[in-house]
Each structure stands twice: as structure tokens, then as C-alpha cells.
């Protein structure tokens, strides 16, 4: 056995691993380093980059205008996470407790919309919610309302779009942790006199916490970057950090400021992942695949 592995080791790691290393270093590590660098440069007069070290891109973020955008973005992302969790926890619980032969099918039914294009799903909600949309038209035909309701182009509709898009990311880790839960613990809690509610709070909730945290991260982090949902469902009133970054790169052509904003997203992500690893202590439950 030793001789076999010994033979493999000569040159094996090289030809299996060098493609991935070369590729990921070139097209992932270098571009990310470049963003970090650019965030410390000045913007040139014509939207180019002036290679002079500066902190002004970061200082500019302290402007109340930008702080407010960052704050609103975080609040909307947090709200999306909370709504997904509240809707998703009972749901994941029911699936995990469904008869075994149905579980896979029920889970599959969650995964299928997850594979459909997120833009298409956003568009589906626009059809439903817009002023002359499906909901307004039918409510008016039924005589329930006489004026169309304004349901689109506000923060609420952005929230609906984000929840709809990211819901499955919450379900999968929740399901994984609830399914693993040994129901004899609950029986023991019951035998010892705990009410179902107490058993839930004291046993189920702590034991499924890794799933809750993993699901929350998987929802919270991507929401910060989905620029097309606020673009299409939020109207001009809703500016989030994702739109702001997009505008800096494509419209305003202020790449250094756009880069600095992207760094903020990276920092938020890293802090959350670090906290997750510290709290949960293993990467196992983040693996939804």
C-alpha cells in the first residue's frame, strides 16, 4: 500500500492540482486583490484610476447619505433573513417529520424553484404585483377594491422578491439539522414534565441552532448583492448597497469608490463567517449540497 501511494505522489498532485490553483489564483485571488488595491486609489478625471494612495473612498462612506444606504441595506437583508426563518422553520420541521417516503419528494419540490432563474422569479412577482397586474385586476373584477393597490416599487416589494428568491437557502440547512434531531430527547423532555413549548425552547431550538445560523448566513449574505431585485422591484426610491456598487462601476464610473463599497461587503461576509465558525465550530452544517 505504501509503495502504491508512494508512486501516486510523484507528479500526481502537480497535474491534478495545478490547473485549479492557477485558475483560482488568476481569476479569483488576483481580481479580489485588485479590488482591494483600487479602493485605495483616486478616481481620475475621466472615470479612470489615478494611482495615488488615498483613504478618501472610505472616508466618503461616512457621508450620511451613504451610511443611510448601508443601514437600509442591512435592515432589508436582516428582515429578509428573519422572514425566511420564521416562515421556513415550521416548514422545515414539518418536512423533516413527514413520513420518510415523502421527505425526499417534499425537499425536491423546494429545490426545484431554487434552480429556476432568480431573475425570472423576480419577473413573476412583477406580473403579480404591478398596478395593472394580476392581483389588482382580479381584485377589481371581484369588486373587492375599486382603486388598484400600490404594491410594487417600495421596500416591501423588494422584501417579497428577496424572500422568494432566497427561501430555499434557508430550508436546506434547517431541514438537515432538524432531521438529525433525535426525537427521543423530546420524549425524555416530555416524560420529565416539560410542556411541548418548553421542550421546543430548551431542546429542539438549541440543538438545531447550527442549521438556523447556517441558513441565516446563506440568506443574509447573498441578499446584500442582489442588485437586480431592488432595481426592478424597488423603483427609484430604493437604493441599496448593491445598486450603489453597480452604479459606481457602470454609470458613475467611480471604480475606487465602488471598490471600497465592495470591500465593505467582503468584510461583512468575513466577519459573519468567522463568527459562524467560532460559534458552531465546524463547517459541516454549512454544506447544503
Amino acid at each position: 500500500m505504501l509503495s502504491a501511494t508512494g508512486r501516486w505522489l510523484t507528479g500526481g498532485p502537480l497535474w491534478t492540482l495545478s490547473p485549479v490553483i492557477i485558475f483560482m489564483v488568476t481569476f479569483l485571488a488576483l481580481p479580489l486583490l485588485l479590488v482591494i488595491l483600487v479602493s485605495f486609489f483616486k478616481r481620475g478625471t475621466y472615470g479612470d484610476i489615478n494611482y495615488v494612495f488615498t483613504l478618501e473612498n472610505y472616508i466618503r462612506m461616512m457621508d450620511p447619505l451613504y451610511l443611510k444606504i448601508l443601514w437600509v441595506s442591512l435592515v432589508i437583508s436582516l428582515a429578509t433573513t428573519v422572514v425566511c426563518l420564521l416562515l421556513g422553520y415550521p416548514f422545515a420541521y414539518f418536512i423533516a417529520r413527514a413520513p420518510k417516503k415523502f421527505r425526499l419528494l417534499l425537499l425536491m419540490l423546494i429545490v426545484v424553484p431554487f434552480w429556476t432563474n432568480s431573475l425570472v422569479r423576480t419577473y413573476a412577482w412583477i406580473i403579480l404585483l404591478r398596478t395593472e397586474g394580476v392581483i389588482n385586476t382580479y381584485l377589481m373584477q371581484l369588486g373587492i377594491i375599486h382603486q388598484p393597490l400600490t404594491m410594487l416599487y417600495n421596500q416591501g416589494s423588494v422584501l417579497v422578491g428577496l424572500v422568494y428568491t432566497l427561501f430555499p437557502f434557508m430550508i436546506l440547512p434547517l431541514y438537515a439539522s432538524i432531521e438529525k434531531l433525535d426525537s427521543s430527547y423530546l420524549e425524555a423532555a416530555g416524560d420529565l414534565g416539560a410542556t411541548p413549548w418548553q421542550a421546543f425552547l430548551r431542546v429542539t431550538l438549541p440543538l438545531t441552532m447550527p442549521g438556523i445560523i447556517a441558513g441565516s448566513l446563506l440568506v443574509f449574505i447573498p441578499t446584500l448583492g442582489y442588485f437586480f431585485i431592488p432595481d426592478l422591484m424597488g423603483g427609484s426610491k430604493t437604493m441599496l448597497i448593491s445598486n450603489l456598487i453597480k452604479n459606481q462601476f457602470l454609470t458613475a464610473r467611480d471604480w475606487p469608490f465602488g471598490s471600497a463599497l465592495s470591500i465593505i461587503l467582503i468584510v461583512i461576509t468575513l466577519v459573519l463567517i468567522y463568527a459562524y465558525i467560532r460559534v458552531v465550530g465546524s463547517k459541516k452544517d454549512t454544506e447544503v449540497f
Binding site: 502504491a4 508512486r7 491534478t16 420541521y93 432595481d231 467582503i266 463567517i273
Partner: protein, 260 residues
């Protein structure tokens, strides 16, 4: 809670969630067959919006681009990812955790960050934005998913088979092609299908690295939606949905089969 009550509540609640997930998509599909342009009231069945798509040069061009990008990014990311999975599974080496971390990044950071980073990078090295930059970007975000899926398959692999082959005189390449490859093939296929759906669906990263003449299908949908709602978009979305769901369901079946 009484168990019958629990069962009923859970069934009703789950049903409502499934409605929430599926009804918007179903309505979108239904209205792609609607005669009226209004997209809100059903007036009669038609296929004319699908016909219109076939005459829409921009849509046809975007379809061609999407298939081109998806094909190349799938093939290349599957090759790189499979090799990487084999290497990472088999060897321990210095910097393994760095590579792990590197593969973890595209999965966890908000996509927009990777999008702007690649845009800045391509502009900096003076690579014109177009199909090539799209393919390179799609390979980058697909590789980690291929690695995860193929590695999962390798976990259940009996290493002694390889050792037996080599003891019987097979060389490294023969062993890989005749033993390792057939065993992990379902994993590779599942990984490839995943890369394919990721590529066909991607909006955010493509948005930044596509050139003006290299629009993909999701980007085409995006620019059409910005101009307003029309049944043609419904038709295009329906095609995209059915296409990707077919691939994804196949991939999922493979994955479930290999887990058993």
C-alpha cells in the same frame, strides 16, 4: 400538541408554502400562452409569443451566446474541478487549507463582488469584454461546485481498487481511466450538470463581464424587463425555466442515486 392536529396543521401550512413558491411561476407560464398583451386577464390560448421570439434577432443571438458560454464553461470547469477533487481527496499538501478557502470564496461572497472584481481585472489586463470573459467568469464560479460534488462521490470510493490495479501492473493513467474515472463518473456528470445550470442562470456576474455584443439569455430578460412587462418575456422565461429545470432535475436524480 395532539398528533392529528399537528399533522393537519403541518399539511395545510406546507401546502401554503408550496403555493407561495409555485403559484407565481405557474402564473408566469400560463400568461405566456395568453392572447392578450396585457398579462393580467386571460383572453384565450395562443402560441404567438413563442413565434415572436423566433423572429427576435436579439433573443436568438442571446440564446446562441448562452449556449456557447454554458458549453465551454461546463466542459472546462468540470475538467479542472474533477482533477482538483481527485487531488484534494488523495493528497495532503502544504497550502491545502488555502486552496480550500479559495474554493470557498465564490460560494460565500455576494456575487456582485466577484462580478466587479472580474470586471476590474479584465479591463486592467486589457481583455475585451465578450464571450471569452463570460466563459472565464463562469468557470470561476462553477469550479467550487464541481469540486464539492465530485469530492462527495470520492468519499464513498474504495481506494483498494486502485491499489489492486496498480499492483497488477497498471500505470497511473491506466488506473485513473479504467478504475477511478468510471466509479466517480456519476459525480462528474452531476457536477457538470450543476455547472451547466449555474452558467445558464447567472445574472449578476455576467452582467458585469458581458460586453455590449455578448448578451446572454438572462441578461436579455433583464433588459427586456426594464422596458416593461410583455408576454414575450413570459414566453422566453418559460423556455428558460423548463430548460434549466430539466437539467437540474436530472442532476438531482443522479446526486440522490449516488448518495444511496
Amino acid at each position: 400538541m395532539n398528533s392529528a392536529v399537528f399533522r393537519w396543521t403541518s399539511m395545510v401550512y406546507s401546502f401554503l408554502i408550496y403555493l407561495f413558491l409555485y403559484v407565481p411561476i405557474l402564473i408566469l407560464i400560463v400568461f405566456s400562452f395568453n392572447d392578450s398583451k396585457l398579462n393580467a386577464v386571460w383572453t384565450g390560448f395562443t402560441l404567438k409569443w413563442y413565434g415572436k421570439l423566433l423572429q427576435n434577432q436579439g433573443v436568438l443571438e442571446a440564446t446562441k451566446n448562452s449556449l456557447y458560454v454554458a458549453f465551454f464553461s461546463t466542459v472546462i470547469s468540470t475538467m479542472i474541478g474533477t482533477l482538483a477533487a481527485v487531488g484534494m481527496y488523495r493528497y495532503s499538501f502544504k497550502g491545502k487549507s488555502v486552496l480550500d478557502g479559495l474554493l470557498y470564496i465564490p460560494v460565500v461572497i455576494p456575487e456582485i463582488v466577484l462580478g466587479v472584481a472580474l470586471l476590474a481585472f479584465f479591463v486592467m489586463i486589457k481583455m475585451p469584454l465578450g464571450l471569452l470573459t463570460l466563459v472565464l467568469a463562469h468557470i470561476t464560479f462553477s469550479i467550487p461546485f464541481v469540486v464539492v460534488v465530485v469530492k462527495a462521490r470520492l468519499e464513498g470510493f474504495d481506494r483498494s481498487l486502485e491499489e489492486a490495479a496498480m499492483d497488477l501492473g497498471a500505470n497511473q493513467l491506466q488506473t485513473f481511466l479504467k478504475i477511478t474515472f468510471p466509479v466517480i463518473f456519476p459525480g462528474i456528470l452531476a457536477g457538470a450538470l450543476m455547472a451547466l445550470t449555474l452558467s445558464l442562470d447567472d445574472v449578476i456576474i455576467s452582467f458585469f463581464v458581458a460586453g455590449p455584443s455578448s448578451t446572454t439569455l438572462p441578461l436579455k430578460v433583464f433588459s427586456m424587463v426594464k422596458f416593461g412587462v410583455s408576454p414575450e418575456i413570459n414566453a422566453l422565461s418559460t423556455i428558460l425555466l423548463l430548460f434549466v429545470i430539466t437539467i437540474a432535475v436530472t442532476a438531482e436524480k443522479l446526486r440522490i442515486k449516488q448518495e444511496k
